[in-house]
């Protein structure tokens, strides 16, 4: 029976993240619930996941046995049944009726297929008894969690937003009995205990403070103990880490049960289990203490609302913990980042570079043959070597190259031969494009890859395109005029342009709210813009008119980004999901749901197989475009993430946030590998140089900073062992990595771009006061 039910369960997981290619916008949520199984894609991903899952098995069981709380947050269709089941289980356990617990559990999982999820945590506990069967079950459980790491996280927030009935279910978790006046005593007791333990454990156990504090406070509020809640808050809010202050501010405004109902942020806090990573020793200590004191209240909260990820090894230090915590939902579970990510680059299509002799002579006096050779070599090396980490060429169907694209590729290669090699001794020149008279209205900027065009999105809902070269922008002639053109002539492409419309900039009108994101297509024919009005618009840069308005997000769309190969694009907004679109579909192809707050920032991986999103919940998620799974989940930022950048080789990710820090991530191992401190305000722009040696960051504090990314990446030893622990010691070497800092007079940096020759372009609006 167990074997039987597994595939079904997998469909369920997949259904959450998969959206059928064609579904009307209105049905979207329904589609998320019961999408048809897409077996093909499932099968494709299975093998890797299986191997990964088994390798992870030991760690998983370990955590399972120790933290044996059943998952309250099911998110399954039969959630209410499950809730009651869990309640019964709890009751039994509280009354020490362990036998009945075991029996009921076994019964339940046999009867109720969906309930197997409950075993995610507790399955290990009964593993001994069930022998082989249980083992296979476990392996599948871990597979499931690896394949769909957001299984417990994803569906619920989405549902809580749309399905009202769920809210009461979620809130009912608070309706337990307990003497509210004792909360302070409990909390103080735990605090005293944690303060009295050895230093090495104290830092780890201190992580408990914040989630416990919040849950206890919410429980008091929910049970209408308003004054007690207030007193509790005032007494203990000062103990919390400073990076939780934003959350505490939201929390302190919330004093009534009614407030809870509309507050999505806190509902999310309830439904998603706060993840703590604690070493085995520290956990044992805590468990012993709570058992000795019979401190059920706290134990219940820990079991119901926290997920304690236990690892073997040295307890982590305070700074290690601080670097990873700060997100809305605690840290990452280690198994979440185990899935294989094909971070390598795709094979470059082979294009013959026509070596026109004039060009060579003009450029180089060393003689033609040599030149030709070097060019061929550089091309050959790229195309021959197939990166072992690269995805299959056709994993994601990509548009075919047009002739114009090939021409552009040739241009690119020519330019790249003239590229300056950057390094600590050889810093790039920076050209700063200031927007004058923008009256604080500039909200987004983008450059084309060849740096010939520049687009600005403004708060007055206009989008404006400038030519960054002396070449002026021209529209295509009207249809009537086009009819008159001789189609056979050689310069037909030149003739179709209307010379009368030539100007340095063009305005694009169409949005009805501030434009928060703009992105050029790689072929420079299209421009995307996302706006507060909930739409993403596609503009033609030939006619300078709007071609499509993509409606799907009902709330402001904070960011949009074209795939590096065109055709696809991703958008993310206030509705807490990111959507993948294709330009010729008016509905999204994928919905990436899982973030607990606004998706503020979206970027495509250089190989177009993955999408990364940053959110107000202070986490970063990497999504697989193929199956919509969340394959990486990064925590560590202390504020909303406003900028993301992949390194050109696709291996690393940099992220910048309102806390003024840049964090560096190793995608393959799923680890944080660096922290660049220095900025004093929100980082709105991040960009790697074309060869990846330099990371440039631009911020609200009016500075552009250059960091030695090569050194940051090289210093890190990320082998499989470190990856297994899920954390590595971070060196505090921001000052050494900082290569340059350039102040602008009064211009916050909103965008950075490296030209093909590695000249850095920065853009921002000049603030005149």
């Amino acid at each position: 029976i167990i074997r039987q039910k597994n595939p079904k369960k997998k469909t369920y997981y997949a259904a959450h993240v998969m959206t059928p290619l064609l579904s009307a916008p209105g049905e979207k949520m329904a589609a998320v619930q019961d999408a048809p199984m897409e077996l093909d894609s499932e099968k494709e991903t299975k093998p890797e996941i299986l191997s990964d899952g088994t390798s992870n098995l030991s760690g998983n069981t370990a955590s399972g046995t120790l933290s044996s709380p059943p998952l309250t947050a099911g998110g399954a269709p039969k959630q209410e049944d499950q809730q009651t089941l869990i309640a019964v289980l709890q009751f039994l356990r509280r009354n020490k009726l362990t036998e009945s617990v075991d029996i009921l559990r076994r019964e339940a999982c046999l009867e109720d297929q969906e309930d197997s999820q409950t075993l995610d945590g507790s399955g290990g506990g009964k593993g001994d008894g069930d022998g082989g069967d249980a083992n296979s079950l476990l392996s599948r459980v871990s597979i499931a969690s690896a394949a769909a790491p957001q299984s417990t996280l994803t569906p619920i927030p989405v549902k809580s937003e749309y399905d009202q009935p769920d809210v009461s279910v979620v809130l009912s978790a608070y309706s337990q009995q307990g003497d509210p006046s004792l909360y302070q005593v409990y909390y103080t007791g735990l605090k005293n205990f944690i303060e009295s333990v050895l230093d090495c454990h104290r830092a780890e156990l201190s992580q408990l403070f914040y989630p416990l504090f919040v849950h206890m406070y919410l429980e008091l509020v929910y049970n209408n103990h308003e004054t007690k809640a207030k007193a509790f808050f005032e007494k203990f809010s000062g103990d919390q880490e400073c990076y939780y202050q934003d959350d505490l501010q939201i929390l302190c405004g919330l004093t009534k049960k009614e407030h809870l109902k509309g507050n999505e942020a806190l509902l999310d806090f309830r439904t998603s289990r706060f993840v703590l990573r604690i070493s085995r020793d520290s956990y044992q200590l805590l468990k012993r203490h709570l058992q000795e004191r019979h401190n059920n209240q706290i134990w219940n909260i820990i079991q119901e609302h926290l997920y304690i990820d236990i690892f073997d090894g040295m307890p982590r230090s305070k700074s290690q913990i601080d670097s990873m915590s700060g997100s809305f939902a605690g840290e990452t579970r280690r198994e979440v980042n185990k899935a294989k990510v094909f971070y390598g680059l795709l094979k470059e299509p082979e294009i013959e570079v026509p070596l026109d002799d004039e060009d060579d002579e003009a450029e180089n006096e060393e003689g033609k043959p040599k030149k030709k050779k070097t060019k061929k070599d550089s091309m050959g090396s790229k195309s021959k070597k197939q990166d072992p980490n690269a995805p299959q060429q056709n994993r994601i169907p990509l548009p075919e190259l047009k002739d114009s694209d090939k021409l552009d590729k040739i241009m690119y290669m020519k330019e790249s031969t003239k590229r300056i090699r950057l390094g600590p001794e050889n810093l790039p020149s920076i050209c700063f494009y200031s927007f004058l008279n923008a009256y604080q209205g500039l909200t987004a900027v983008d450059f084309t890859d060849d740096s010939s065009l520049l687009a600005g999105g403004f708060a007055d809902s206009t989008v404006r395109v400038w030519s960054a070269t002396p070449k002026k922008l021209r529209k295509v002639k009207s249809a009537a005029e086009l009819n008159l053109i001789d189609k056979e002539s050689d310069d037909v492409l030149e003739r179709i342009m209307d010379e009368k419309t030539a100007s340095e900039s063009k305005n694009l009108y169409g949005h009805s709210g501030p434009v928060y994101g703009v992105s050029f297509s790689p072929d420079r024919n299209y421009l995307l813009s996302s706006s507060e009005d909930g739409t993403v618009r596609l503009w033609s840069l030939q006619t300078f008119t709007c071609l499509v308005g993509y409606k799907g997000h009902n709330y402001p769309v904070w960011d949009t980004h074209f795939s590096p190969f065109g055709y696809y694009f991703v958008s993310g907004g206030h509705d807490r999901v990111a959507r993948l679109w294709a330009t010729d579909h008016y509905q999204p192809l994928r919905i990436f749901a899982g973030h607990l707050a606004d998706v503020t920032c979206t970027r495509f991986h250089p190989n177009s197989n993955y999408v990364v999103t940053g959110s107000t919940d202070r986490t970063i998620r990497l999504w697989d475009v193929l199956n919509g799974n969340c394959v990486r989940f990064f925590t560590g930022h202390k504020g909303p993430i406003h900028s993301l950048a992949f390194s050109p080789n696709g291996k690393f990710l940099a992220s910048g946030s309102t806390d003024g820090r840049v964090l560096l991530w190793d995608i393959g191992h799923g680890l944080m590998i660096g922290e660049l401190k220095g900025h004093t305000d929100t980082i709105y722009a991040l960009k790697f140089s074309r060869d990846g040696e330099i990371l440039a960051s631009g911020s609200m504090d009016n500075t552009v900073r250059l960091w030695d990314s090569m050194k940051a990446f090289d210093d890190m030893e990320t082998d499989d062992f470190t990856a297994a622990t899920g954390h590595i010691p971070l060196p505090d070497n921001s000052q050494e990595l900082l290569l340059g800092m350039y102040h602008s007079k009064s211009t916050p940096v909103t965008h950075l771009h490296f030209t093909r020759r590695n000249l850095l372009l920065a853009a921002g609006a000049y603030n005149s006061q």
């Binding site: 202050q245 507050n263 790039p428 400038w466 102040h743």
Partner: protein
């Protein structure tokens, strides 16, 4: 501190009275206290929620200020109709009134005359967005161009000069914005490291480009081509990268003044003073360090006995006025409780003024210098002296003709006194203006002062009227100084750079081809010559000594070497 803020936030709830007031305004009469409380809690919570959403819009708008638009958008998120037409020029548009035991707030709604609105000129059309590119960095080095901030910000120039041990490389003093509890130890370590850092040895070598620039600028400043000079002064006044060259400029000016006072070269003195002004206009320079050189030079130009070769013809008075204004400006900007520039300058001037033997030229300078320091100084130091000065002027005017020069001097002092005192008297002295009383109070100058005061009062009244009438367009003419004789004009006060164009035919030097001290200088070149320190001392005005002695101790060593550089500039 953060904790305090948080707790305050926690307790912030709208007062129940406002709930009552709002309820009344929509026609709900007696609201119970409990409902008020419930309402206010709910409303406070919702307002906070909206504010938190509005912040998101601010962040995505890449702004630091929350706007009403953000709040509109946040309301839209909650499906609430935004507030239409809420705009106010003022921060708080409410007015408060009380009376008859009632207190209320109300909007002040003035009646507006339609014709006024129609006749008001349209506001200027806002400028269109435009793009401007500049180099923020070239191969890792930030060029010192006006688009970039000054390479060494003023604050750091200050710390460099006042606390050399604290000076660190820019960027290294900054620490991560996030200070978690556990990082206390590590940050203390960092601080320890900073303390260990030795004082950076400051080299004052100029690059070749800087040397060229310095040469060009100084030559243009004292050269004959007015257009070039204007450009050079503009450059001095706006360029952000002059920090390195400041000591050179400062010495150039002080040495130049020293030499040219001896040689009575009025034109050069004027040019040097204009350089001082340009330096002071440059917002990126930390001049405090070089006041010991600049102030004596300026004071010399105010009070020196003789500034030109023919005191009867040349308008050295204008130079004194200009320098006096510079002095007043530097008092305003640089005077602190530690250096006491203003009080020391005032003392120096007063001492010279009180001295009977002071010459008319110096006397004029002292009075001008004092008068520029403001009305209070005029009131306390000059007006009590009016009768004494009047008697002295009378002696020259009515007495036997001693020398023409004295007479001109007395005449200038008289008009200067009248000009400055009239407006002060007009403000302080109560009406009516009786000539006899004026005579009794102020002696010889009383009669003329009275007529001046009457004129000043009339003008003030007229101005007040015009100000009242056209509140929308107040165009106050910037006080400018024009010198009738030499044609030199200089603007005063403002820190904005402005170029003064002077017809070259009117400059003093070109009209006089030869002077005794300069055997046969071509009209285009002037001597800026450094002399040994003691040579000109007899010619120096005594007031210098005080400053020199004070600042000598702080004088950077490199300045001594600088004289060698200067002499090489000699032609």
């Amino acid at each position: 501190m953060a904790e305090e803020r948080r707790q305050k936030l926690c307790s912030v709830i709208l007062p129940t009275e406002s709930m009552k007031a709002i309820a009344e305004s929509v026609g709900v009469g007696s609201l119970q206290e409990e409902s008020c409380l419930a309402l206010s809690e709910e409303v406070s919570y919702r307002i906070k929620e909206i504010a938190q959403d509005a912040l998101k819009f601010m962040h995505h708008g890449k702004r630091r200020k929350l706007t009403t638009g953000d709040i509109d958008h946040a309301l839209k998120l909650k499906n609430v109709e935004p507030l239409y037409g809420f705009q106010s020029q003022e921060f708080i548009p409410f007015r408060f009134a009380s009376g008859g035991g009632r207190e209320l707030h109300f909007y002040e709604e003035k009646e507006v005359d339609l014709s006024d609105i129609i006749n008001t000129p349209l506001p200027r059309v806002p400028l269109d967005v435009s793009l401007k590119a500049h180099w923020l960095s070239i191969d890792g080095v930030q060029p010192a161009i006006p688009e970039n901030p000054p390479p060494v910000p003023k604050e750091q120039q200050k710390t460099d000069s006042t606390e050399p041990l604290k000076a660190v490389k820019p960027g290294q003093e900054e620490e991560g914005s996030i200070q978690t509890k556990g990082q206390g130890a590590s940050s203390a370590e960092v601080k320890g490291k900073e303390k260990m850092r030795m004082k950076p040895r400051s080299t004052h070598e100029l690059s070749v480009e800087q040397q060229l620039y310095y040469k060009e600028i100084t030559e243009a400043c004292v050269g004959s081509c007015e257009a070039k000079r204007a450009e050079a002064l503009q450059s001095i006044a706006t360029d952000p990268g002059l920090y390195q060259m400041l000591p050179r400029f400062s010495t150039f000016i002080s040495e130049g003044v020293r030499v040219n006072v001896v040689q009575n070269n009025l034109a050069l003195l004027i040019y040097l003073m204009r350089m001082v002004k340009a330096l002071m206009d440059n917002p990126t320079l930390y001049l405090e360090k070089y006041l010991h050189e600049l102030i004596p030079a300026v004071v010399t130009c105010i009070v020196s006995k003789q500034l030109c070769l023919r005191p009867d013809v040349d308008n050295h008075w204008a130079l004194r006025d200009f320098a006096a204004r510079l002095m007043a400006q530097s008092c305003k900007t640089f005077s602190t409780t530690t250096n006491n520039i203003q009080s020391r300058i005032t003392k120096t001037f007063t001492k010279a003024l009180l001295d009977d033997k002071t010459q008319w030229t110096t006397r004029y300078g002292c009075i001008a210098g004092l008068a520029e320091l403001g009305h209070d100084v005029i009131k306390t130091l000059i007006i009590p002296r009016l009768s004494v000065e009047g008697a002295r002027i009378k002696a020259v005017m009515d007495g036997p003709v001693v020398s023409n020069i004295d007479k001109i001097g007395a005449d200038h002092v008289q008009s200067l006194l009248l000009k400055h005192c009239a407006c002060v008297v007009a403000k302080t002295r109560p009406l009516p203006d009786m000539v006899d009383q004026y005579k009794a109070d102020y002696g010889y100058l009383g009669t003329m002062l009275c007529s001046h005061v009457v004129k000043a009062r009339a003008q003030a009244a007229f101005q007040a009227q015009t100000v009242n009438r056209t509140t929308l367009t107040i165009t106050q003419p910037r006080p400018t100084l024009s010198m009738s004789q030499s044609g030199l004009s200089a603007s005063s006060g403002s820190r904005t750079p402005n170029i003064i164009k002077v017809p070259s035919s009117l400059t003093l030097m070109s009209t006089r081809p030869g002077t005794p001290t300069q055997p046969s200088p071509p009209a285009t070149k002037y001597i800026v010559m450094a002399t040994s320190a003691g040579a000109a001392s007899t010619q120096q005005v005594r007031v210098l000594n005080e400053f020199v002695s004070l600042y000598l101790s702080r004088l950077p060593r490199h300045l001594y070497h600088f004289r060698a550089c200067l002499t090489s500039d000699r032609r």
